[in-house]
Symmetry: C2
Subunit: 300 residues, 2 copies
């Protein structure tokens, strides 16, 4: 079999659902209507209808399709759920890279990796091609792919780029009018930081999540597809490392919270110079954490 008949099976079960809303002797909609309803081509609908005729669920004469018996559970076709979304693949793959300390210059075997993540080889190829735009992996001359990141240079360049994007976001943010929702959001964010700071001894683990929220709040101000694409990757990598590097976690997080609060206060006071200064300081701390965690894991 060349293509899977997943679309057929889904449509088959979909038509059963539609029939279940009817009574025996009711007439079915025309092919094109059914096709639109199930968001597939008429070709598929026609195959499904033929299958229904064979199962004596419907009777076709001319242009009238009559339901002659209610379909039941036994009529349903089984569907193997093994297609994960491209977004999920991205998360899973990056998590795998980071979690298992896959070293740089590892040759990635498309066949094996595609099995591991239960996707078709060509889906993975497509995905790899996308990632290669970020310099994380590269095509090899003799075929296949090679993992380039996370090297020290990758981390440095990623951090630097992050600074560029986030400082830009801050410049935009500070110019927003008084009635923009961002200001109340920042107030709330500040409260959350203070709350965590009060219970830092018990809850210092929660900082990872708060850090992500902090950066998202600031960066979402810039509505730009290019920026957003990068933020996805940046956020994933930094967020993962925060969870990962456990050395001096408590004191590290406490310091970071204070940096956040300073930045938020500067933003609320619309002090651009100070806000940028504070943000840069925090981003630099973050960069050092990322670098040191790479060294701890013998990467880079």
């Amino acid at each position: 079999m060349a293509r899977t008949d997943a679309v057929f099976r889904n449509s088959f079960n979909g038509l059963i659902k539609i029939c279940n809303k009817l009574k025996v002797n009711d007439k079915l909609d025309p092919e094109s209507t059914l096709a639109t309803k199930l968001d597939v081509s008429r070709t598929v609908i026609r195959s499904v209808l033929q299958a229904f005729v064979k199962l004596n669920i419907i009777k076709i004469s001319g242009r009238t399709k009559t339901l002659i018996r209610m379909p039941n559970k036994n009529d349903l076709l089984t569907i193997q759920e093994r297609t994960i979304s491209l977004g999920q693949l991205e998360t899973d793959f990056l998590n795998w890279l980071l979690h298992f300390d896959v070293p740089p210059n590892t040759i990635l075997n498309v066949t094996k990796v595609s099995k591991q993540f239960s996707v078709a080889p060509h889906t993975l190829q497509e995905f790899f091609s996308g990632l290669s735009r970020f310099g994380l992996i590269e095509r090899r001359a003799k075929g296949g792919w090679i993992l380039r990141g996370f090297t020290k240079n990758f981390a440095i360049e990623l951090s630097d780029f992050r600074v560029v994007l986030e400082i830009n976001a801050i410049r935009h943010l500070i110019k927003l009018p008084e009635n923009h929702p961002i200001w109340s959001q920042l107030g709330e964010l500040k409260n959350k930081h203070n709350d965590l700071l009060r219970n830092i001894d018990q809850n210092f683990h929660d900082f990872s999540q708060l850090d992500e929220l902090y950066h998202i709040t600031i960066n979402k101000i810039v509505k730009n597809r290019f920026v957003e694409e990068f933020q996805k990757i940046i956020s994933l990598i930094f967020h993962y490392h925060y969870q990962w590097d456990k050395t001096e976690e408590r004191s590290r997080n406490e310091a970071a919270i204070k940096e956040h609060i300073k930045t938020i206060e500067a933003l609320l006071n619309k002090d651009e110079i100070l806000a940028i200064d504070c943000a840069k300081k925090h981003l630099n701390t973050s960069k050092q954490t990322l670098l040191s965690s790479l060294i701890t894991h013998n990467l880079g």
Copy 2:
């Protein structure tokens, strides 16, 4: 045939070249050495050697491979040159999009487009997947790809992003030490601008090239893989449009040259505020030109 035997054919001709450096009765290098020399696997070398035996070019006995006749031109295998590089594909494809005013939301037919650019369908798929990271094209739910850009929003977001990157480059540039080559390069660049300005009536067409040089000179200061990836796309699109939009070209170019000169002078004086101001003004002009040329071509 599943895979092409292009590697075999290239290695075959490669080995002929190697043999031509020998004399009759000379011995050939071991398989593994030949494999390294031609940068292919031993498997290929072995097939080529077998082919050479059949053609009575060499004689193999045990581990000695003796040249028994000089190979000639007739022995060479023909190689069909129709593989273009991935970089070339990128340039060709974007040029096609821009040159033929391919409208947004066009459904791209992988089979047809791959023939048009004479690449394998899966190569194109891979390439499309990469481009989709920039939001230029998208995967369709029912299969295939759809062209999203160049819409007005795409152009606006691209321009805005360009500003972020270039202003960042300027901030870095201005901090460079006196002995850095950039300062003499900027001096030269300024002279080129003045030269063109003196002969603007005759040579205003040459500005397109000068504009590209100007932006490259500034942006190359930032050594960052993410920035560089974007600059490739940005440069292609803006540069193309400059060549394209012929309305008021002379006066438009003259104004742009003056903006360039002002920026360069500010940079040479290390006046950061002024340089950023001038650069922003120029980038905004550039953005407006891009937008108006989109409207002229009924895109967006």
